[in-house]
Amino acid sequence: MVTIENLSHLHLDVLKEIGNIGAGHAATALSQLMAERIEMTVPNVSILSLNKVSDFLGGPEKIVVGIYMKVFGDAPGKIMFLFNYDDAQALVHAVTSKTLSGVMDGEVDKEELEQSVLQEISNIMTGAYLNAISRLTGLNMISSVPAYACDMAGAIINSALLDFGMVGDYAMLIDTQFKMTEEKMDGHFFLIPDPGSLQVILEAMGVG
């Protein structure tokens, strides 16, 4: 049984490649939505001790926007988008100023609209990401509706890692960073397979 504690270099490379293919499609989806160039980093497979998770991403008290989705199907897990508060605003602005400028002036709750825009962007990117991984692995993966929170980074990221606490003291995240150079914003996209899904994913890739 493959667990976080005994992942080999080959396993890590395979997970990175899965992240790469998923994120490539997600970036394309975002790029089409924005009609703009999106840069993305090579994914990083982070294995973190639970007590150090909060130091990740600029400290536990940094104010971030998180969009959280559950993944159902053959390889359950979580998906989390994290943006700096200002970057989330910039992203919303970049989308809405091109298409919704009239609506923004009307009687719309601005905050609610912003949340909705971010949730929908996450939804579209997640759809592209999971679709690509599904095709690659033959595993069925679908996402829940997105949930939104704007709060301390520690409180937000920990919500997605509770399942790891039930099996050990480490968490694993497949992290891809997105950048929009023109808007000077960047965000993180995390795929967080549930502990039991690691084996399933690696087996589907022929390295279990």
Partner: protein, 165 residues
């Protein structure tokens, strides 16, 4: 004021005495269990992540679970000179950060964490004298062992002071 405190990460715990300070930053559904004996100024903080250790068979961290953190803190404090009957508790955390409409509230880990700590405290005969739990927001907790005061910081509501008094 959080800077000179010992940082207690997820599933960790620490027991010490005045003038030390203990802190847990960015708590979501996790709970900071702050235990204190005013007379000797001995106290401890556990950063509880999950309610129930019974699913776990192998060795684990006692600070991770509500049902194990409470008796472990008491035991370690007694070793440093605390007296069981004088120990009091303040708890903070147990929020529900992401609400899914379809979700059953029984699955709310924050609520279950609070319940497990409450049960463990009542089993140990230790009173919970103050609390800041629930809601949809993160908290940072600072526990000053010189005074027994617990400061709970949130983004929208500033810092609230809770006292062992």
């Amino acid at each position: 004021m959080f800077a000179d405190a010992f940082q207690i990460g997820m599933a960790e715990l620490k027991v010490t005495q005045a003038p030390d300070k203990l802190a847990s930053l960015g708590l979501g559904s996790c709970i900071a269990v702050c235990m204190y004996d005013q007379a000797v100024k001995v106290g401890g903080l556990a950063h509880v992540m999950l309610p129930d250790s019974s699913i776990f068979k192998e060795n684990f961290n006692p600070g991770k679970f509500g049902d194990t953190a409470v008796p472990f803190l008491v035991g370690e404090m007694v070793k440093l000179g605390a007296v069981h009957s004088r120990i009091k508790v303040i708890i903070a955390g147990g929020a529900h950060m992401f609400a899914f409409k379809s979700e059953d509230s029984l699955l709310d880990i924050g609520v279950r964490n609070v319940q497990s700590v409450e049960e463990a405290c009542s089993k140990a005969g230790i009173p919970i004298v103050a609390r800041s739990v629930g809601g949809k927001f993160g908290r940072s907790v600072l526990f000053d062992l010189s005074t027994g005061k617990v400061y709970v910081r949130t983004i929208n509501q500033g810092t609230v002071e809770l006292s062992m008094g």
